[in-house]
């Protein structure tokens, strides 16, 4: 089976400037990332702020141009940004952002917003479009009488449903969601997560789900990639990765999630600050915060390599012994 989305060696470098008088310094936000998303599969991307996960999400859609590497969608290379071919491709891949209020136009009714992609991509006539809007609203759990409402008249969860309905309008094969539930309350978050689960099940729709919330990612994703300072440090099937993390960073991330019933002591609390992409440590970027770090970690960048049949990790100590020693 061919992958729906295949990214190879993606690189994105920003020129960051520190303050008004600062020198410009290159910041490698995404630094050689390769990944595949199969049809119908959901890939989770987790990491802290500064890990480059949101930049990666935009690069997968071609919104942020890559300085290096390639993205292939449906077996063919991604067309140049803002070309007619790229715009046409947008019908097949859509994005959902964290803040639905910012993503919606306050002057348009929600029906008009959901209809917009149909008009842009010239799908159906007026009657067909109206029918499709009704269908989409029902699919995401919005009531028909809400069609004439404006974004500010809806709750946060309902707005995110509108954004999702709009993203689904053109029948995309790929949905890239960047922190779609982070701004929502617990009870509403569950509603939207369940909605996304239903969307996975019906039809062979692929999804890239970017989030810092490990619980939601585990619940929703088939495979998970963990990012640290612009690189994937571990990747594997969701259940395996959470049950048996091989990279010390993944272990620390999982351990840091507070769960009712799990006591505070005995957790691995990662010391040090979240990494600054402008000051990338030598060797393994994680080594200053890593309890297992040795000389080789300070000097040599670890490659992603197979640790288990379906799992890869970029760690010099990611063999079975190190994992059990730290556990």
């Amino acid at each position: 089976m061919t992958a729906l989305l295949e990214a190879t060696d993606l690189v994105r470098v920003y020129t960051g400037r520190q303050g008004l008088f600062g020198k410009a310094a290159p910041v490698r936000a995404v630094d050689g990332v390769s990944l595949r998303v199969m049809p119908g599969e959901t890939l989770g991307i987790v990491g802290e702020s500064g890990s480059g996960k949101s930049t990666l999400g935009r690069m997968l859609l071609g919104v942020d141009p890559a300085q290096g590497g390639t993205v292939r969608f449906g077996g063919t290379p991604m067309p140049e940004r803002a070309t007619p071919a790229w715009r046409a491709l947008r019908a097949r891949m859509q994005m959902v952002f964290q803040d639905p209020l910012a993503a919606l136009d306050r002057r348009l009714t929600i029906a008009a917003q959901i209809r917009e992609p149909l008009e842009i991509h010239r799908i159906g006539d007026a009657r067909a479009r109206a029918a499709r809007v009704g269908e989409l609203m029902q699919a995401v759990g919005l009531r028909p009488d809400q069609a004439g409402r404006y974004p500010h008249e809806l709750s946060g969860g309902q707005r995110q449903r509108v954004v999702i309905a709009r993203a689904l309008a053109s029948g995309p094969e790929l949905l890239v969601c960047d922190e779609p539930v982070s701004a929502l309350d617990v009870s509403i978050q569950a509603q939207v997560v369940n909605l996304l689960r239903e969307l996975q099940r019906e039809g062979r729709r692929s999804m890239v789900f970017i989030s810092h919330d490990l619980k939601v990612v585990r619940n929703l994703c088939d495979r998970v990639a963990v990012m640290y300072l612009g690189r994937i440090v571990e990747e594997g099937p969701s259940e395996l990765l959470f049950a048996r993390p091989r990279h010390p960073y993944t272990r620390a991330l999982i351990s840091s999630v507070p769960e009712p019933g799990r006591p505070l002591d005995g957790r691995v609390i990662l010391q040090g600050e979240p990494p600054n992409p402008a000051k990338r440590p030598s060797g393994c970027a994680f080594h200053p915060r890593c309890a297992l770090a040795t000389d080789v970690c300070r000097n040599t960048v670890p490659e992603l390599r197979q640790t288990d049949p379906e799992q890869t990790a970029a760690c010099h100590h990611a063999d079975g012994t190190a994992a059990s020693r730290a556990a």
Binding site: Q18, G19, L20, F21, G22
Partner: protein, 304 residues
């Protein structure tokens, strides 16, 4: 820091050059000084001689190059009317204009900022609404209307102040107030919105939660933050110290730069007009430069 200042200075020089070029081209396209100065019934030979004498017969680009060259050697040209140096004519008038604009600036700062800050601290009160109303009135009424209204009230009806002319400090009161009113309105509005935004920031609540007295929260925590946007506007006002009085000087027959500009434009006295525009641009650019440097001083986030 040095890099930053160098870039800003370069940009300032380019801005001034652009203004000079624009003024030069527009002035030469919009009428012939020979015809204006000499009158309509002069023989062609006289006009030609005049043109030759002032270098107006050369191609435009040659005139432009020699003009720029002269500026850089400190020669601002001669007035076509009495052949006195243009720079001297202009500088003679500067003190008169500043006698109006500096008191006006002080009025703007002294009334506009406190009124805006007070209104922000008493949001939705009667005083707040009054300040907003007066501010809008202040900057929507054109200065020539405002000037005439003030003359009607204080000179004609009450007879307490002169209606125009130059001489004593009483003569400066009405024109200075006229100039200041728009600026007071703008500053009041601006200070109010800057202060309102700052007062809604989480760090204000932090300061209160820390037990800081409200008066000190306003003084020590809110005002320093609100200063950044206010300084932008004040910088603009300082920049218009020279140019801001053109209309008002005309109304009140005040012998400042503004009057000189009007007279020189209608006479097509090229050197003088160019010299005034250069001065206006230079003052504006310098005040912008100062504002940029102030930003860094006021807001550490804009420093490195």
């Amino acid at each position: 820091m040095i890099r930053f200042v160098t870039i800003r200075l370069l940009r300032a020089v380019i801005t001034v050059l652009a203004v000079m070029t624009f003024a030069f081209v527009v002035l030469r396209m919009s009428g012939d000084p020979a015809e204006v100065l000499l009158g309509p019934d002069v023989p062609q030979t006289v006009i030609d001689a005049f043109r030759k004498q002032w270098g107006l017969d050369a191609p435009l680009w040659q005139q432009y190059l020699s003009y720029i060259g002269a500026i850089f050697s400190g020669d601002f040209g001669l007035s076509m009317r009495d052949r006195s140096p243009a720079i001297q004519l202009v500088m003679e008038r500067v003190p008169a204009t500043l006698q109006l604009t500096i008191p006006a600036l002080l009025l703007k700062l002294g009334i506009g900022i406190p009124a805006g800050v007070y209104a922000a601290l008493h949001r939705d009160s009667a005083v707040d609404r009054g300040v907003i109303f007066l501010a809008i009135l202040g900057f929507t009424i054109p200065s020539f209307v405002m000037g005439l209204v003030l003359v009607l009230i204080f000179a004609v009806t009450l007879g307490v102040l002169p209606s125009g002319g130059f001489g004593s400090w009483q003569h400066a009161i009405l024109p200075a107030i006229t100039i200041s009113i728009g600026g007071i309105g703008i500053l009041a509005r601006f200070s109010r919105s800057a202060m309102t935004e700052v007062l809604g920031q989480p760090y204000i609540r932090t300061a209160s939660a820390k037990g800081v007295k409200w008066r000190d929260v306003v003084r020590g925590h809110a005002l320093p933050n609100a200063a950044v946007p206010i300084v932008t506007i004040v910088g603009f006002m300082v920049g218009s110290l020279i140019a801001g009085a053109v209309v008002v000087e005309t109304i009140f027959s005040w012998p400042g730069i503004g009057r000189l500009l009007i007279v020189s434009v209608s006479n097509r006295d090229l050197a003088v007009v160019q010299c005034i525009l250069l001065l206006i641009a230079a003052v504006m650019v310098v005040s912008n430069l100062i504002v940029d440097l102030l930003y860094g001083w006021l807001d550490p986030r804009l420093r490195a």
